[in-house]
Every structure is written in structure tokens, then in C-alpha cells.
Symmetry: C2
Subunit: 354 residues, 2 copies
Amino acid sequence: MNDKLELDKRKAFILATVVYEYINTAEPVGSVTLTQKYNLGVSSATIRNEMAELEAGGYLVQPHTSAGRIPSDAGYRTYVDRLMQPESLTKDDSRRIRDEFREASRELGDVIEQTTRLLSGLSGNLAIAIAPSRDSHAFKHVQLIWLSPRTSLIVVVTSGGVAAQSVVEWSTDVAADDLTRLSNALNTRFGGRVMEDVGAPDVDAVCAELHVSAQIRDAVRAAFAASRKAGEPEIAAAGAQNLLDQPEFHDLRKLRAILRIIEEQRTLYDLIADELAADGTGTDPAPHVRIGHELRADELSECSVVTVPYRFGDRGVGMLAILGPRRMPYGRLIALASGTARSLGDHLNDVEIR
Amino acid sequence: MNDKLELDKRKAFILATVVYEYINTAEPVGSVTLTQKYNLGVSSATIRNEMAELEAGGYLVQPHTSAGRIPSDAGYRTYVDRLMQPESLTKDDSRRIRDEFREASRELGDVIEQTTRLLSGLSGNLAIAIAPSRDSHAFKHVQLIWLSPRTSLIVVVTSGGVAAQSVVEWSTDVAADDLTRLSNALNTRFGGRVMEDVGAPDVDAVCAELHVSAQIRDAVRAAFAASRKAGEPEIAAAGAQNLLDQPEFHDLRKLRAILRIIEEQRTLYDLIADELAADGTGTDPAPHVRIGHELRADELSECSVVTVPYRFGDRGVGMLAILGPRRMPYGRLIALASGTARSLGDHLNDVEIR
DNA sequence: GCCTGGCACTCCGGAGACCCGACTGCTAAG
DNA sequence: CTTAGCAGTCGGGTCTCCGGAGTGCCAGGC
């Protein structure tokens, strides 16, 4: 393999055309097809020579002798990075996106799910969304609310919104005043802190000062523990059945592997999360494409993923992704993902989200 | 078809054996196989005659001439209702169920999901769970909490727990006293009501009495709307990839149809919800089996579903289900579903669930 | 030196042809 | 009522064959 192979204008055009044709037909493309469908001004023999060189350069591969060529990972990569012309949203698509978000839910989890359904429908592939993590949020407020002598409500609020709330039942009567005093003490003590810094010992200290019963102390502890756990990533996926249409997934073994990955949210999350980390603060919400082995997962060696981050106010950065066969219409999917991410961000930031 | 065909002892045994054998092998079963593997005391010719009668009676069908027989819906039905011997949980299974719930989450949604993963793993089929609906819950408490001059927290509590909470931002300063007064007024007004009876007009009336700003009124309205919407059914499914192992789903068209149903939670819910309604208050948590066309969905004509209700304190009745090919090990799956439902119910009722 | 027409070669995949095996239904006899 | 035996049916696996698509290479032309 000669990695240094420079692509002259004609080679570039041929490569682009092969990729384009293969994406549309799912059939290996040969030199004659090329000369017939696209006017290249040269004969098929010349194309053959060029294609042989492109194969030597690692951009194309032959499934078997006497078949046409299909793009390699590197071929797709070059296509996406340098040859493809960017597309913008069609009128129809952007209208459908707008309409969808016009009546979107106000519940973060619901919005995420709805977005994946939308994006999988538009793209005809599997769509994935992860919600911004609520890590590193500032403590804002805690309140113990008297409901009845034997029941109370505990609410913990962080900069990310209400992080935990629960109704608890006491075995003995509790006075409203005591709850208020405890609330105030906790608030002064924890004000300005980050959630990670509020541990069980801190809660215990305050409770001890006020001679609060063990029962109440445990309940408060649990509430804080839950509010820290609320930072767990939320993730949604939709459109798995779309993948069945693609001939590359007609093989049951491959299909099974993919389905397993989709159901294991952990793997799915990891798949996209490194992109999140790489993106850092995500000042530019640029779409990223990872192709085949770049995904570093054997089961996904025939897949590509388009990811695009979106920003949700002070809650951080979330991620939208489309997973499909390597042979995907990159231009269109990038436009769709970007457009959807933008609308999703707008929706989240405009509307009061719970 | 002669529906009145009475099954004498031998016919019953043959039918049971055919179903059993087909469940285990997935191959149409013929008369010779039967005589060889099970000692019936008669020759294969006799079995052939009997099987022909069973086919005439509608219990068996032949995929094509010169193939063995497979059970019809009616055949499975008879097997499940009258011929099959009930199984109980194996030691191993019940241990795994117990272990799983020992460290189960305290979040209802999480528990539901975890349960489907457990049940799909144990059963090797698709597992579905729906959480008890929170419909018809009693209003308990509403509280507007002062966080800062420009931000407040609104919490609505129903008999089902915290139904809605949100942090709202005001465009003008708000006094803590006003919030307390409004909270008290709302509580006295709505105390003892059912959530369905608390509409926007009621909220408006109280707000008007106290001359509360439109901004606050709208926020309270939204909180109540959200808390009514919290009654929406929660549903989870896991184990779709298990279905790929079954030869009946190797046909891509069928597979696609099934996957679509699984992803459309609405359909999935409907599929199981009528069972919920039929079960009523569910005093006896008996498992139900629906076979093939009994499911009233063409896509599922080759599937069966085992459902079993579980009770969650005063929140109502939820449902656990296993969906798989008609050719499923009914005895084992019924035992698994029942056992899991029991443990799930115990867990939910013992632990303080948020 | 690059392009092109032509030719020989390769290989996949679909269409038949074929046979084997697994059943059944039926009949006649015990 | 049961049984052995037999003829008939049908699906599915295997084998062969052939056409089509495509390649690589070579020799000649611009």
C-alpha cells in the first residue's frame, strides 16, 4: 500500500464516483458502468488502469476477482473529508424537523426519545441521542416539606434542576418547625458547593448539630445520594428495524451483533461518549463521521456513525448520532443530524425543561 | 373441522407429545419419530391414523404433504390448558431472580427496565414490563418554594408520590410569603380530590382570588398539567435479539414486522393492556397465555405471549410479559414470569420507591 | 507517454436437473 | 382395531452448467 498516492483530479473524480455509485446501488461498481453512467471522456480501459492504481493506494477493494470495486475505509474517509460536496437540508426535511419540535415534550427524557424517532424516520437509519450529563452541578437548595405528621417531602435542587425528590413516611410524628430548621441549616452549610462535595458525612454533621433523629438523617442522606446519581447519562435509540432494509445486514450473525449493541446501552454510550469527550466544550458543533474500523468495534466494522453535539444551556453537551452501514448517504445524514441537533438545542434552551 | 372431537387418552397423549417434541426440535414431527422416541405401545401406522384424526379435529396441521405435523393454535391451546403439566421454578432460576432484586434500583423506571433484562435473559425471549399507571390518584399536596427572589420550585404530590416538580424563573421578584399563601390556598381547595378533577379552571379560580400574577398562574397550571400527564404508562422491553435465534424469525419480513411492533411502544402497550383490563383488580395474579391469532395482530400470528400481573401497593396493577414464538416452552416461561412478577411486586412494596 | 480496442481469463450466482429421505394415506390381512 | 407393507408426494440439498460482468494485459495509434 502506498499511502502517499496523491490523487490527481481524475483519480479523485473516479473515486468520488465509485463511492457515490456504490452508496446508491449497493453493487460493486465496474469500469464499464462508470463510463456509461458518467461521462468521463475516456474509455473503460483507462478507468480500469486508474482503478487498479486506486486499489493499490488503498482506496478501493475488490470483493473477489472479476467483480467491480467497492470503497475501503480509507476510500470513504477521503470521500467524506475531501471529495463530497456538503449538502444542506431540503425544504421538506427542515419543515418536518420544525413541526416536530413545535409540539415537543418538556420532559428531557421524552424529548430525547422523540428526537431519535424523528431522526431515524428522516434518515432511514438507527438514531441515537444522549442527554447532557448533569455532572458537576452546583448545589442550590434542599427542602424538607411537612405534608402530614407522619409524612414529609424531601426535594433537592441543583443547577441542573430538581435532582431528587421523595415522599418519606416516619414512624413517629414530626414537627414542621424541625423540618424547616433542618432545611435552613443544610442550605447554609451546602450553599455554593458542587454536588460531588456533598457527602454523607456532611449531612451527618448537620443532623448531629440539630439532634435530628436517625430516621430523618438517613432519609436526607438517601436524597442526596439519589441526586448525585441523577447525573447518570440518559440515552435513547430508535429505528433498528430500518437497518433490516440494508443488504449488508441480511446476514443474521451481523444483525445479531448489532442488535446486541443497541440493547446494551452501556456499549452504545461508550461508542458515542469518546466523541463527546473529544469534542470538549464543543464550541463548534461540527458533525463528526467515523467509518468502519475507526469505530474500534469488530461488530461495527461495516458501519459508520455520524455524530453531532448539541448544547443545552448550563447542563452541558449532549450528542446526537446516526448509525448505519458504511454505505450511507453521508451528505444527507450530516445535514439531517446537524439540523436536528440545532433544533433540539433551540428547543431545550427556549422551553422550560423539567 | 369437527370441534367436538373428544380427545381420548391416547389422542391426548399423542397431541401432547407432538407439541412437546415440536417445541424442542422446531421440526415437524412424524409418526415414526414418535414411536421411536416415546414408547407408545402401538405401531407408527396407528399413530398415523390418530394424527390424521387430530388434524381433522383442528389440533394439528401439515406444512405440506409428506411432512410431519405441527400444532395449530387450537393444538397449543389444548396443550396449555389441559395437557401440559405445570412447572415450578428451578432452584437456579429462583436464586437468580432473588439475587437480581436484592440490589435492584429504587427508581420505578429503572426497576422496570432491569426486570425486563432479567426476564429476557432467563427466558431467552423478549420480555416486556409495564409499570402500574398512576391514574386516578388523589391529590395530596402542592408547594411553591422560594429559592431566590427570581426563582421558585413547584412540587405536586399525589398519592402515587411526587408527580411533578419544576424550577421556574420569574421576570420580577416574588415574595416568599405570597408563595406560601398560594400554596396553602391551593391545598385547602384541592384537598381530598382526585387528580382528574383538578383542571386549569380550578387553578385559575384560586389564583384570581389571591390576585396572583399571570406568570405564576401559568406556572402552576403547567405543574398540574404535568402531574396529570405523569400518569402515562411506563413501558420497557428487552431481549429482541433473542428472537433471532428462533428459526421462525429467520424470515426478514416477519422479523421486521416484529421489530416494528417492539419499537412502537403504543402497540406494545395495547397488546398487553387489554389483558390488564380483563384482569380487573387482579385479585389472583394468574398468568395468562395468548397464542397466535388470539393476539389479534397479523404480524404476531406466529407468536405467543405469556402475561402475568403484579400489584404495586396503592399504585395499581402492572404487567409482565414474555413474547416469543408459539413454539415456546410454556411451562417454564409461565413459572419464570410468575416468579419474577412475585419478586417484583415484593420489591416494589417493600422498598421505598421514588 | 498516455489512451484505447481487443482478447483471454476469472468468478459469482442463478437455473435446472436430480436424487434422497421423510412422510403420508391406503389397503388388505391378522 | 391394529399392523405391515407399499405406492405416492414433496421439499431440500447437491451438482452441473452457463451467462454475465468485470478484470488485466498487450499491442497499436495519436
